[in-house]
């Protein structure tokens, strides 16, 4: 059987498959379906300083080969995550988890990241500077090089664990943002967050989503994600986590060829709760088919 281990920012993981933040809760919902220790790791629900309800409903819309969500970072707040969610997760997951951090100011990002950095269970801090559903005074930190640099350098100065910046595709040049966070000291980047999208109900002539717009994800965005991972992997030296519509073991390999060291699986988990497990189980046969003995050898292997 081929080797699936990869090194993600200094931590070796058993395989490169990581359920993406916002599609895997704090893990235990999926532990009802299968033993989640088969995962490389997973990125837990985006966590902020204060508890948040998020946006008004409806906040889900269907699209061809995908969906739009405008959840808006609903989470119980970092204190409750540490007091309640992490101990509950410890009962069903023994590996290091990726902590996903959201915020509305430099101070908030630093506050949340610092608290999560101290948790034994946390292996990496994924800093979400790209949520399309929340805005800090109308500006998204991840949409400017200056904003991205500011957040990541401030977080980086305050924590010890590897910092991964999660990038938005809703920018003119994603490589410029990737370079900015690399300069700020990021240990890795993950991309792409969702694409800003919208649907309109023909009967009511109103947007389907109460917040009008939301983040578009699912297989439909896979080619955009592969393209952006390819561009970023060629622009920075730090590891890239590729995500956006990954639904099969073949998609994992394609994303790694484009330059990803590991991948995140998002919307697929919501349609098929076993999706991430299935992808991991399918990988050996697909690796064999394409004569891949060691997965890490194919990273950035596109000719």
């Amino acid at each position: 059987m081929g080797e699936m281990k990869v090194n993600l920012c200094g931590i070796e993981i058993d395989n490169p498959v990581i359920p993406a933040s916002g599609t895997f809760g704090y893990g235990y919902e999926f532990a009802e379906f299968y033993d989640i220790n088969c995962l490389g790791t997973f990125s837990f629900k985006g966590t902020t300083k204060e508890p948040r309800f998020g946006n008004p409903t409806p906040r889900i819309a269907e699209c061809y080969a995908g969906m739009i969500n405008a959840v808006g970072l609903q989470n119980p707040g970092v204190d409750k995550v540490i007091e309640e969610e992490l101990p509950r997760l410890a009962k069903c997951f023994s590996k290091k988890v990726m902590a996903n951090v959201g915020g509305f100011s430099v101070e908030e990002y630093v506050h949340t990241a610092t608290l999560l950095d101290k948790q034994e269970q946390v292996g990496w801090l994924e800093i979400n500077i790209s949520c399309p559903n929340v805005h800090a005074g109308g500006v998204n930190f991840g949409s400017s090089e200056k904003g991205a640099y500011e957040i990541i350098s401030a977080v980086k100065k305050s924590v010890n664990k590897p910092v991964i910046a999660k990038l938005s595709p809703n920018v003119t040049d994603i490589t410029a943002i990737a370079k900015a966070v690399e300069d700020a000291g990021a240990d890795g980047v993950s991309l792409i967050n969702t694409l800003l999208g919208m649907r309109i109900d023909l009967r009511t002539r109103k947007p389907v989503i109460a917040n009008k717009m939301g983040g578009f994800s699912g297989p439909a965005i896979f080619p955009v994600a592969v393209r952006m991972v390819y561009q970023v992997a060629n622009a920075v030296k730090i590891p890239v986590i590729g995500m956006g519509g990954i639904s099969s073991a073949e998609d994992v390999i394609e994303m790694m060829l484009a330059g990803a060291t590991a991948v995140e699986v998002g919307a697929a988990n919501l349609i098929n709760p076993y999706a991430s497990k299935q992808i991991i189980e399918d990988l050996p046969a697909v690796m064999k088919k394409y004569k891949i003995e060691n997965l890490k050898d194919i990273i950035k292997g596109v000719k």
């Binding site: 809760g25 409903t57 906040r59 889900i60 269907e62 959840v71 297989p219 349609i271 076993y274």
Partner: protein, 244 residues
Amino acid sequence: MKQIIYEIIDTRQLTETVFEMKLRGDVSGIKCGQFVNLLIDGLYLRRPISVCDLNGDTLTLVYKVVGKGTQKMSEMKVGEKLDVLTQLGNGYDLSLSGKSPLLIGGGVGVPPMFLCAKRLIGGGKSVTVVLGFNTKEEIFYEEEFKKLGAKVIVTTVDGSYGVKGFVIDAMKDLEYTYFYTCGPEPMLKAVYNASKTSGQFSFEERMGCGFGACMGCSCKTLYGNKRICKDGPVLVKEEIIWEK
């Protein structure tokens, strides 16, 4: 939660837009008031449909055609297989019913009331059911409820059958120990205001996953934020906050 592959063993059109589908497979552990989430070929998100009845190894779903998903369901044939997530949601707590509970179903909110009535009558309760529709042509399941032994009152908005008006017009003169209801939100709100006892309400919301992972269908309650798919769809009267 379980993922089950069911086989369609019967389909029946009940009204112009309402259909019944019987599925054979593992129905163990499914509770009244829960829903199932169906994967439909060619559509990305699963479709949540409430459980109408359970019989041996048969699960009955009754649904209204409102969009692409339910349209495709209505075109499915006996023998086709369906990938379904089951045991979703909290379901109704029937232990609170008292001796003579009232069940109130409006339109496509009628189906989940059926298993409720069956279980309550099976438990020796005296059950009254109010079924609300717009017109005579939209009525379904009246006979099925009667066969269970429930006292059935039908209301139609246009007065073409039964009591003229809304379900609350029929509720006024009834005595009951507790109630269970499902229907469109304006009806639920009217029932909330008209009801004389405590009761349980089943809500609808657009869902992503249906099993508590995506937070797409959250609502605010007096007991904190809840996910309609996981902590609901049933909420008790005392916790509901009407926002819309």
